[in-house]
Symmetry: C2
Subunit: 330 residues, 2 copies
């Protein structure tokens, strides 16, 4: 009976990214029982990606020695603007999706209720409820990866805003007329501190003749785009001056963005996560915090915590599971 | 009896600025019965300013043919960080105040309850409750004057944030490494689009030999700092190219700041007010709105209203009255 009751709490959380799909099976108390991973293959189009999400969910469930019938709900964090009421992904540039009925289509394939939210929102929800035990009244989660996403918790609840699109902190302009951003504007936070921005700066400098261990690491002629955040950490530990300069600049921009957020919204906690933070936390965190407190007005940052998330790449699947559990209770 | 009942609703709202004090007496239904104005004379020090606020309040009450005994409460918007629970002005750089017990001191002088809030918050409150009849669930009010202040309404209530300092939008960095701001940092919104910033740009250009009607308007040798926002409007109507360029740039920066706010917080309404807007609304509003919608991500700005306030320089006294009335109701 205890086992049957526990099984009724089984939820699958999915982190849908531009390059990979991660699914996690969560039991009672949001314990992670198993995970599975597949590449997204966005270039194959919407139907193919939905089919891959389904497969990834089934793989994770099988990994946990369970069956789909034992799963109560699936939550998904998607990289774009989402209508959580209909489960539609309204706009996801990295996937080239527009008005995609993801929730409905996946629910049909799995025969399980599916709940969809923006990925930044989902990550913030996971960090707030699981890592912070729901304690902070207000929290902004910033996730530095290929792009930069964020989620806002106010009064203990997700803040979606008027169009349910709040949290697009990656497109906060910090440097008018600065580097071109994927969104078409210039000088966005994402164009200054995402992995894409860091790699662009490194490529440009190496092309202009700057020295770096990255060249040896990759071998001559290799594109800098084949790098991972972990390669940057390796280069930094070898004392690579170029990588140090570029990573420190990204950390400073992140600090300025956080300073803006403290001045404007003044949340109790600011949490940092995402692939770039997971790989470069030791190198970036002190600069981020010092810069943020420098840019915050006198008295505004007192007692506000600026911390890295401990959930790492599980923030997305954890938050997606929280989302689905809340929706079921809702 | 009707008159006695009406008198019980009498509240005085005070707008305390760096250069002037404005007091308004409000009757039933927040009808403005009379106003009074005094210069602040901040250089004379804290006690002298408190004495002048008291005098301005008494002048306004007398102007309305009432006595202080008929006033139920006084609300004040102050230019700085405020603790509304104690009525203390924690930090007001323009007045050179630190930890000033304004609420307590003024209540002693007037023998009436006094409630204090940040001026941007108070203006946003006035616009939301009186001009918008409390309808928008979320609103950001941005006030362009000597500095730039703002107030945030979420769920129909003032959002103070963790340290009660939310709304410092004037110190949102838009142009890293840009013009020096009074706060010590560079490239803040306030250093790009406030009256101070506009006058700095004009002074610099005229010193460098640029032509402008402003020189004729002021006579040779006159400092550009003696200008008012209204002088800019006059110069614009004479076809002054320099003033047009500088004012348009300020409008663009304002639009970018609003784009950032739409992307990040996604409020239902963004209201613009303050001395610069009152004088230059016709010249700035179209550029502000077009720029904001351009910088907002696809789908995020849909249905969001970006509007000028109709309260003009009464936003502060009106909001201060709303503040006091709400505080009395508890």
């Amino acid at each position: 009976m205890a086992e049957a009751a526990a099984r009724q709490d089984v939820i699958v959380g999915v982190d849908l990214g531009g390059t990979k799909i991660l699914a996690g099976v969560f039991g009672a108390g949001l314990k992670c029982l198993a995970t599975a991973k597949l590449s997204t293959k966005a270039e194959r189009g919407y139907e193919a990606v939905v089919e891959r999400i389904q497969r990834c969910v089934r793989d994770a469930i099988d990994e946990a020695d369970l069956t789909v019938k034992q799963v109560r709900a699936v939550g998904i964090g998607a990289p774009g603007a989402v209508n959580p009421e209909t489960g539609e992904v309204l706009f996801a540039p990295n996937l080239r999706w527009k008005d995609a009925p993801l929730g409905k289509d996946l629910a049909k394939l799995l025969d399980v209720p599916v709940f969809v939210e923006n990925d930044g929102n989902v990550c913030a929800l996971g960090v707030h409820e699981v890592e912070m035990e729901g304690k902070p009244r207000s929290l902004v989660g910033i996730f530095l990866g290929t792009g930069i996403g964020a989620g806002i918790i106010l009064g203990g609840e997700l803040h979606g805003g008027f169009n349910r699109t709040a949290g697009e902190v990656g497109h906060m302009v910090l440097d008018v007329g600065g580097p071109k951003c994927g969104c078409g504007n210039r000088g966005c936070f994402e164009a200054l501190a995402s992995r894409t921005a860091i790699f662009r700066e490194l490529s440009d400098a190496i092309r202009d003749g700057a020295k770096s261990h990255l060249v040896d690491l990759l071998g001559p002629g290799e594109a800098i785009t084949d790098l991972k955040s972990g390669d940057l950490r390796k280069a930094l530990r070898k004392g690579d001056k170029l990588v140090q300069k570029v990573v420190e600049a990204a950390a400073e921009y992140t600090g300025i963005a956080i300073g803006n957020i403290i001045n404007f919204l003044n949340p109790e906690v600011i949490v940092l996560g995402g692939g770039v933070m997971d790989a470069l936390q030791d190198e970036m965190m002190a600069i981020i915090e010092a810069t943020a407190r420098d840019y915050a007005m006198t008295g505004t940052a007192e007692g506000i915590r600026i911390v890295p998330s401990k959930l790492g790449d599980k923030a997305g699947i954890t938050g997606a599971a929280v989302l689905a559990r809340r929706a079921l209770k809702g």
